[in-house]
């Protein structure tokens, strides 16, 4: 009787393993890397812009390797290039016209492979200041990491401002969302976290559709970006 039960469990696992092995390539294909990426394709469309935020196109810019070097230095530039950085887009969204002057920036970088994006996520995560939180929105991917920081200051009088940063990856696309709020109080930090999460969800929604449309069919080449 006991032997029969053992055989049943082993057989069940074997069937599940076989089914998983058969379905894994198809699932992997559905979340595969975006093969052709232009800088304009990484811009958050107006229809996907969350309510309460206003795009500021004059502050947007295309992120190239050269710009990475000017922003983060040659060392990080080399690191990201090694990870397969192709092109990126830096966007700016103004928040509500309140006294704490909320606004959000988002950076979407396209890499040559999913592994390159994962490596870049690891690299950039080391640069984030503040405390990493455990709570995150269920609409964001599992690889999402969130930080908050209320200790930063700006201006000649060192006015405090709150920063909340959300980093996640979708296929070979790395997304970094940073929300700013004037003031270093808990409310400012919470508002910044909420704004960052909102914009991150909007980016995730946009990229999810973008990746699904650009995923290669099963058995195709692994070349992803031009």
């Amino acid at each position: 009787m006991t032997r029969r039960w053992r055989c049943t469990w082993v057989g069940g696992f074997a069937v599940l393993a076989l089914v998983s092995a058969c379905l894994a390539p198809a699932w992997a294909a559905s979340i595969g890397p975006v093969r052709k990426v232009n800088s304009a394709d990484l811009r958050l469309p107006a229809v996907d812009t969350p309510p309460g935020f206003t795009p500021r196109p004059e502050r947007d810019q295309v992120v190239t390797t050269g710009l990475l070097g000017s922003l983060f230095g040659s060392h990080l530039q080399g690191t990201l290039a090694h990870d397969g950085f192709r092109v990126g887009y830096h966007g700016w969204l103004d928040g509500a016209n309140t006294a704490d002057l909320p606004f959000v920036t988002y950076d979407i970088y396209a890499f040559g492979s999913i592994e390159g994006a994962q490596a870049a996520q690891t690299t950039l995560s080391r640069l984030v200041q503040g405390l990493q939180t455990t709570s995150q929105d269920s609409r964001l991917p599992k690889n999402t990491a969130t930080w908050t920081d209320g200790t930063e200051t700006f201006g000649p009088t060192n006015q405090p401002f709150a920063v909340s940063e959300v980093v996640f990856r979708r296929a070979n696309l790395l997304v970094t969302v940073i929300a700013y709020n004037e003031g270093g109080t808990a409310n400012a930090i919470s508002e910044a976290l909420g704004n960052a999460t909102t914009v991150a969800v909007a980016c995730e929604t946009f990229l999810k559709s973008r990746v699904a449309a650009s995923s290669r069919p099963p058995g195709a080449s692994s070349a992803v970006l031009p």
Binding site: F72, G73, D94, E152, F154
Partner: protein
């Protein structure tokens, strides 16, 4: 025709004076209308008169002192109502040698007067013949001379009525057809010493008439010109005022269109102000729109300054965060 009161001349067809409304009289010496025939009757001719006393008859003064008389012409048919004057007979003595101041015989028999019509009084030219005083002095003297009648003798009745001569052009028989009629005093014609009164002569009257009608015509012309000017100015003012109203309405509509239309509204208001002098409404609207525009501009400037400051603050936060990342990168080995 002439108005003896207003001393104005009219055409031959005019019957009444246009100034005083009185009936017109045909001036003596004028020719021609259909009335001449009627006026040639002795009954009507005897109504011609003069306003001046005749000078004494020379013939009478130089003669025997007997009055000169003539017989009035026979009345024509249809003139029965006119007084009938009997013709005195030259061979019969005059009923009386003395007459009163009116020319009636003083010693007339009352019975005779009661029985028959009153005989025509012998006309004393010194009293009654004002109408023919010049005639008596000139024409009559010539006729008397031709007939051998001495001055002062009774004048025999003539075939032609004496009423006709006053209708002649040369009434006074001095060869001056332009001589004035009744208003010309006797003895002051061309033959008389050239002492014609300028005020009473025809030329003088024409001048006076011209002087009277000239100002009237000038006044009428001035009135007409003034009316034309007033009408022209009224039309011009009407057009300008209508343009002013249109511009004012358009300006108000533009002002209601919002701050984007304020500039056009101000232009319209200024145009309306320039078109009509009584433009208080446009000035008030202009002031209101300018105030609104100023406030809108101030608000826009304030919003722009606030936006710039907000952008600067946000940019400062972003720069501070990037600087922190770069500092972190610099600290990494």
């Amino acid at each position: 025709m002439r108005c003896l009161r207003c001393a104005l001349d009219y055409g031959p067809e005019e019957q009444f004076c246009q100034r005083c409304g009185r009936s017109l009289s045909r001036p003596l010496g004028s020719k021609g209308s259909a009335e001449e025939k009627n006026l040639s009757t002795p009954q009507e001719a005897q109504f011609f008169y003069t306003t001046t006393a005749p000078p004494p008859l020379q013939g009478a003064e130089q003669g025997t002192g007997e009055p000169v008389a003539w017989e009035m012409p026979k009345p024509q048919a249809g003139m029965a109502s006119a007084p009938v004057l009997e013709q005195p007979h030259m061979d019969e003595p005059a009923p009386s040698d003395t007459f009163d101041e009116l020319g009636f015989p003083v010693s007339a028999d009352p019975q005779t007067i009661a029985d028959g019509p009153l005989p025509p009084p012998p006309l004393d030219l010194s009293v009654h013949a004002g109408l023919t005083l010049k005639r008596a002095t000139g024409g009559l003297s010539a006729a008397a001379n031709a007939r051998g009648i001495e001055a002062g003798d009774p004048v025999a009745p003539t075939e032609a009525p004496l009423a006709a001569p006053p209708m002649l052009d040369d009434f006074f028989g001095d060869g001056d057809e332009d001589e004035g009629s009744a208003l010309v005093p006797s003895g002051f014609g061309k033959s008389g010493a050239g002492s014609r009164s300028p005020k009473l002569s025809r030329g003088g009257r024409q001048g006076a008439q011209t002087a009277a009608t000239g100002p009237n015509r000038r006044a009428l012309s001035l009135v007409v010109i003034a009316l034309i000017v007033i009408i022209a100015l009224g039309g011009y003012a009407f057009l300008r005022q209508r343009a002013y109203n249109n511009d004012l309405t358009n300006a108000r509509n533009l002002a209601l269109g919002g701050p984007s239309q304020y500039s056009a509204a101000i232009n319209r208001y200024n145009q309306a102000i320039a078109e009509w002098p009584f433009n208080s409404g446009a000035k008030a609207g202009l002031a209101a729109v300018q105030a609104s525009e100023n406030s809108a501009q101030a608000a826009a400037q304030a919003a722009a300054r606030q936006l710039a400051q907000t952008d600067a603050t946000r940019g400062a936060m972003y720069e501070a965060h990037m600087a922190l990342i770069q500092q972190e990168l610099a600290n990494q080995p």
